[in-house]
């Protein structure tokens, strides 16, 4: 099979069929946080609430640790995992900073200065 060109993009997980199948229950748990009852039950006992979904132990651990990149690797989709952030009272920009490994102040400054440059992050093989 030909090499998947999307896997060559640094720091990016494409939410494709493989990820979607892997992350179905993780993402559906996130979806339940759209409702106030879900958010309250999750906050009251995170472990017990997560046990309502047939998620893997790694997925549950990543949620409890708020390992945002780990959740993506385990099939989470950012529009779903961001609902955990909303439950925690975090903004999209705050978790974006966490996922890219910098402080929120540094991340916000980077955005104000025009955002992350494409130079050097096009390809894992190095930019042509």
């Amino acid at each position: 099979m030909a090499e998947n060109p999307f896997k060559d993009i640094p720091g990016t997980t494409l939410f494709d069929a493989e990820q979607s199948r892997k992350g179905y229950h993780l993402n559906m748990f996130c979806m339940s946080l759209m409702k106030a009852e879900g958010r309250e039950a999750f906050k009251a006992d995170e472990g017990a609430y997560l046990d309502r979904w047939p998620m893997t132990a790694e997925q549950k651990a990543a949620v409890i640790a708020r390992d945002w990149n780990g959740m993506l690797a385990l099939g989470g989709n950012i529009y779903f995992t961001s609902k955990i952030a909303a439950t925690d009272g975090l903004s999209f920009q705050q978790i974006a900073a966490m996922m890219s490994g910098v402080s929120q102040a540094d991340y916000a400054a980077m955005m104000l200065a025009g955002g992350r440059s494409i130079e050097g992050v096009r390809s894992k093989k190095g930019d042509a």
Partner: protein, 284 residues
């Protein structure tokens, strides 16, 4: 006869809606974003569309992973703002246009676009932020809206070419609606942005500028651009830009560019905005 009088494209960044809803639009950070839409708001007051066909994507609000329609058309009488986890945006309920929406659904399906028909759907920031940018904060939206949701969350979204051809089919469908209606088609989302992973915060102004130029002057060429180019160059969420091609396809081959605005940043995203006017071909 119904006619398409203009196309509007705009980003739909949720933080823009939050800034407006929380009275922060006058802050230094947000002022340039809202200032960029002032002339557009004046323009649309005169343009007075009866109906906007609003192409947008749902962000895991109305559609979870249980059901992922590639193209869905809202045929309901009205659509409530979705609760995206912070409570629904304090904006008016969106009034639909069921007659035109059903006409579009039928025409498009018989024209070989297999639309999903939606009779109940809440609409999230993808749809309501563009309305806020163009109309401000009225007590009721001044026109009817037909939501046309495109899947861009689960890979693969429809190709740029498919989106462009859907626009062409929308133009045919609108032209065959007997009632005299002033219709606009809006394409939303983008521009370059990546919300996930270590590459979050990506902005590519050169890509965005070239996209805007080519969307106006060479839409068929832009429609042929493959997904990998969007994801690599404009970020994993920059692929939303294929939705602008639906709007462009619904206009004439030649268009007049009435307005262009570009600004970085709004939260994690580059904001882009266009107003295009069709130039009907003169009979030879």
């Amino acid at each position: 006869m119904a006619r398409i009088t203009a196309g509007v494209a705009t980003s739909h960044v949720p933080a823009i809606g939050a800034a407006l809803d929380n009275g922060r639009s006058g802050e230094d950070y947000w002022k340039p974003v809202f200032a960029g839409y002032e002339t557009s708001k004046a323009w649309i007051k005169d343009a007075r569309p009866d109906v906007v066909i609003l192409v947008y994507n749902d962000h895991a609000s109305a559609f979870s992973l249980e059901l992922i329609p590639t193209f869905a058309i809202g045929c309901a009488e009205s659509f409530a703002p979705a609760d995206e986890g912070w409570g629904p945006r304090p904006v008016p309920v969106v009034q639909g246009h069921p007659e035109l929406a059903w006409h579009l659904a039928q025409s498009l399906i018989l024209d070989e676009f297999d639309m999903t028909i939606v009779n109940r759907m809440d609409v999230d920031h993808g749809l309501t932020v563009p309305l806020s940018l163009m109309f401000g904060q009225p007590d009721a939206w001044p026109c009817k809206v037909i939501p046309l949701a495109v899947n861009v969350v689960q890979y693969p979204p429809p190709t740029g070419n498919r989106c462009f051809k859907l626009g062409l089919a929308i133009a045919r469908a609108v032209a065959s609606f007997p009632e005299d209606l002033n219709v606009q088609v809006w394409g939303t989302g983008g521009m370059s942005h990546q919300l996930q992973g270590p590459r979050a915060g990506l902005i590519n102004k050169a890509f965005d500028t070239a996209f805007l130029d080519r969307l106006v002057a060479d839409p068929e060429g832009q429609a042929a651009v493959p997904h990998i180019d969007y994801v690599r160059e404009a970020g994993s969420e920059g692929i939303e830009l294929v939705m602008w091609l639906v709007m462009r396809g619904a206009l004439t081959r030649e268009v007049r560019e009435l307005r262009r605005f570009y600004h970085v940043p709004a939260s994690n995203t580059a904001v882009g905005h266009l107003i295009l006017e069709p130039i009907p071909e003169q009979p030879q």
